[in-house]
Subunit: 151 residues, 2 copies
């Protein structure tokens, strides 16, 4: 039996791309009945770099997180730099973007997924926070995923 | 502060619509490293009826569930009858369809959501199992939701 994820079988987060993170954050706060979280900038060129479709990118995005009982709902408003978020928003509009999983062993997991028709689209992160990779699982799983390590 | 969901703040499931539930179920089983679940038919005309956009419908769908650690991943392959699943699949293709929440008090929740620009798209279920409603929250939450009671 295959086991591509190879780790805890839990969805860490569900992520949406949006055009106006302030407005949609308020709508989610009203829906869940919780305080509207502050957003913050993520991404941008750092010493490790962000790689999108094989090229370095200085794309950034505003992020907001809603920590509910069993997982996190993440909102992303990307800037106009080339990224998996901007690509998706321009092509499909606002809405669901990916689900995220915490894993152990980024390199071996990406390698195994690559051998199974799941190419890596974007990678980034920092030594002092953690590392992420977007994997294009749309051909098989019909949605995109993000792998997280060290967060 | 508004609180439209008014209940436990947990995502019960994430649901995708697919064209071939057998194939995509195998791909998810390989991804998670778990056994492929059997699918079963749901929907169809029953004495309570299924209501889609205000009209009775005999649409059915094949359902498969992956119960992972913190939630369920649901796959739906609809038949060609009019339904929120078929509408979505024809318009957007395979992929993410909605997230589901367990609630208490379907009528008051649907009423409150309706007053907040979240109209009901489809309702169904059975006395002996439970009741569901699809609510169109795309204008505010940028995705659709399902409310579940009694399951």
């Amino acid at each position: 039996m295959k086991d591509l994820l190879g780790n805890k079988k839990a969805v860490a987060h569900i992520c949406l791309v949006v055009n106006d993170i302030e407005k949609t954050s308020q709508d989610y706060a009203d829906f869940f009945g919780i305080e509207k979280p502050s957003w913050f900038w993520a991404g941008g060129q750092n010493k490790e770099g962000t790689i999108y479709r094989g090229e370095s990118t200085d794309a950034k995005a505003k992020l907001a997180f809603f920590n509910i009982d069993n997982l996190t709902v993440e909102l992303i408003e990307p800037d106009n730099g080339p990224s998996v978020w901007r690509e998706f928003l321009d092509k499909y509009g606002e809405g669901f973007h990916h689900i995220g999983f915490n894993i152990n062993g980024m390199e071996k997991t990406l390698s195994l997924m690559g051998e199974n028709n799941m190419p890596t689209l974007q990678r980034g992160g920092k030594e002092d926070s953690g590392w992420y990779s977007y994997v294009d699982t749309r051909d098989t799983l019909k949605i995109m995923i993000e792998l997280l390590e060290g967060y």
